[in-house]
Symmetry: none
């Protein structure tokens, strides 16, 4: 412990505990100032600690009035999700992915249209990069999509078509 990245991580998580709603906007420079470090250190923390696997989603905007927005996803406790994320691991082939998507449809986790969308997303020609990186990319994207769906449902609740 006691390295900077961990401190910053804890600090941000602490901020989350103090706000309602699960959406936190921070300023990169302000953060860097507070910890007396290089601004890029903040990026390092975000890319290593606030990942989807760990239940966060990060967006940002540059320029005047820019910000970094961190969303804490509402689904960490979902067993089904965990299993799927585990199953995907950090690499998944096209056929495994298609089977998984079919399964998600059968379980009514996704709609017919969403199934088509996902199949398009994980298609090898669309990913268009060589193996084995392609299977890793596919895994990242699939996990992010499933996470997004779960988070959406956790936030809004509701059924599917």
């Amino acid at each position: 412990m006691a390295n900077l990245a961990d401190l910053i991580e804890d600090f941000i998580k602490d901020m989350f505990s103090r706000i309602p709603g699960g959406i936190l906007d921070i300023q990169r420079n302000e953060m860097a100032n507070r910890f007396g470090c290089a601004p890029s250190q903040i990026n390092y923390v975000l890319t290593t600690r606030f990942t989807l696997e760990r239940g966060y989603f990060v967006e940002s905007r540059r320029g005047g009035g820019g910000y970094i927005r961190i969303r804490k996803l509402k689904i960490r406790e979902d067993e089904f999700l965990k299993e799927i994320i585990d199953y995907i691991g950090d690499s998944i082939s096209g056929s495994e992915a298609r089977a998984l998507i079919t399964r998600l449809r059968e379980e009514k986790v996704i709609s017919e249209r969403e199934k088509e969308i996902l199949n398009a997303v994980i298609n090898r020609y669309n990913l268009g990069i060589p193996l084995p990186e392609r299977d890793r990319l596919r895994a990242r994207i699939l996990k992010s999509v499933i996470t997004a769906i779960m988070d959406y449902e956790a936030r809004k609740g509701g059924e599917l078509s």
Copy 2:
């Protein structure tokens, strides 16, 4: 948020929601006065937020009695999607992609849930590969998703939430 350009954008969009017809006339100076900014700021907002890509068309007239007229375009869905694919080209940045997804949602081409899914898919942190290949990958995925949607609609048709 909280930058002027966003406020002005919201203000204008709010005016649109209050009028019938989709044609809105504004005065540049009056607008600048209302927001206490330079008149050219209004042009900035118009050229960055009320573009064709985002579904608006702007005309104006100088001189005494001059005005700026903003038209909200009506779309024909099939052509619209083809145009979007052209617009994407073979590389697209994250912010362009987000604007595009927002537009697809505004035009009710996609559902709220699908919007979340797509935002997750095109997110920098989730794609996790370096530029410039990242922007190309994003373009390929987005185009294939849109194609899949067109295809699905052609086969099944139907409305959205």
